[in-house]
Subunit: 154 residues, 2 copies
DNA sequence: TTGACTTCATTGCATATGCAACGAATATTC
DNA sequence: GAATATTCGTTGCATATGCAATGAAGTCAA
């Protein structure tokens, strides 16, 4: 048996991008389990809804472009999520009066009602994470803060 | 204009599952840019390769099942990644002699050569992250450690 | 104003994905 | 040891995704 030259000793389980991916998957999944069955909302849809529930400044509505930028999703993903949400009667799309290229998205009453149920659920999950991590949470926050600042810079 | 009851004030940008997802996306992407074009390897394929490059214990080969468990990917994803890698001549699949349901995966010489290039690249990226985060890195590690322990428990 | 660029959102297309179903092999139970 | 249940890996299928191309609208410069 030929003895191959050894490969560098690399430990995937301590590789930061990998750990982040697993942590993200597991937490998103843990939360999604709570609302998917009950409300029939996917993760991309949830992100759009959350963004609409919290208009920045005084803005009543938001464009696809805004969401793409702030929510870290491709615009086609946003567009499709928005279409599904519209079909479900949770949001409405309207042409912006000033710039007719823009599509302004806004929650319907039904959408608002849904979010009134959904948001507390998410907030409770956040509390749960903080409680479960205890002291380690602050460090995680700082680390994520620094990392996000770094990788979004370019 | 009717004044709707206000929704809870929820800040997506400080929601841990969301931050983790963004951080994971960005870092994976930043790294993938370095090897995808050069080596034609996707992220699922890369994960399988890494796992094969580091046999646990003395094991020379690994089954799809092993990878599914340790690498946090669906078995169909692993299976398909493995098929592509086999087609590319980077790994070989063989029936396990003892339990003929198992498929043992192993790097070919070509696969080993690829990993000899790829692993240093990943290790350098890890160094880079640690350097860029400086003091915040330790906290991130502790936080991820605690979080992964928590969410994989059940 | 006209014509060249840019921006916005959607869509076509090829590929990737998750899930359930399947066939083959093994384990378990009686 | 026969029947049943479970495990392993692959695949069919419906859906989701990324990317490029498109069309519509707006901007800019001369």
């Amino acid at each position: 048996m030929t003895n191959k030259p050894p490969l560098p000793d690399f430990d995937l389980s301590h590789f930061t991008p990998y750990r982040l991916a697993v942590a993200a998957d597991r937490t998103s999944e843990e939360l999604a389990r709570q609302y998917r069955a009950r409300f029939g909302v996917s993760i991309p849809e949830w992100r759009v809804l959350v963004h609409l529930a919290k208009p920045v400044d005084g803005a009543q509505t938001v464009s696809v472009r805004d969401i793409e930028a702030r929510v870290a999703m491709e615009k086609s993903k946003v567009s499709r999520a928005a279409s599904r949400l519209e079909a479900a009667g949770l949001i409405v799309k309207a042409q912006d009066a000033g710039d007719r290229r823009l599509v302004r998205l806004a929650l319907t009453d039904k959408g608002r009602a849904l979010m009134a149920d959904l948001l507390p659920l998410a907030m409770a999950y956040q509390q749960e994470i903080e409680a479960r991590l205890a002291d380690a949470f602050a460090g995680l926050e700082d680390g994520l803060e620094a990392l996000l600042r770094e990788v979004s810079a370019r």
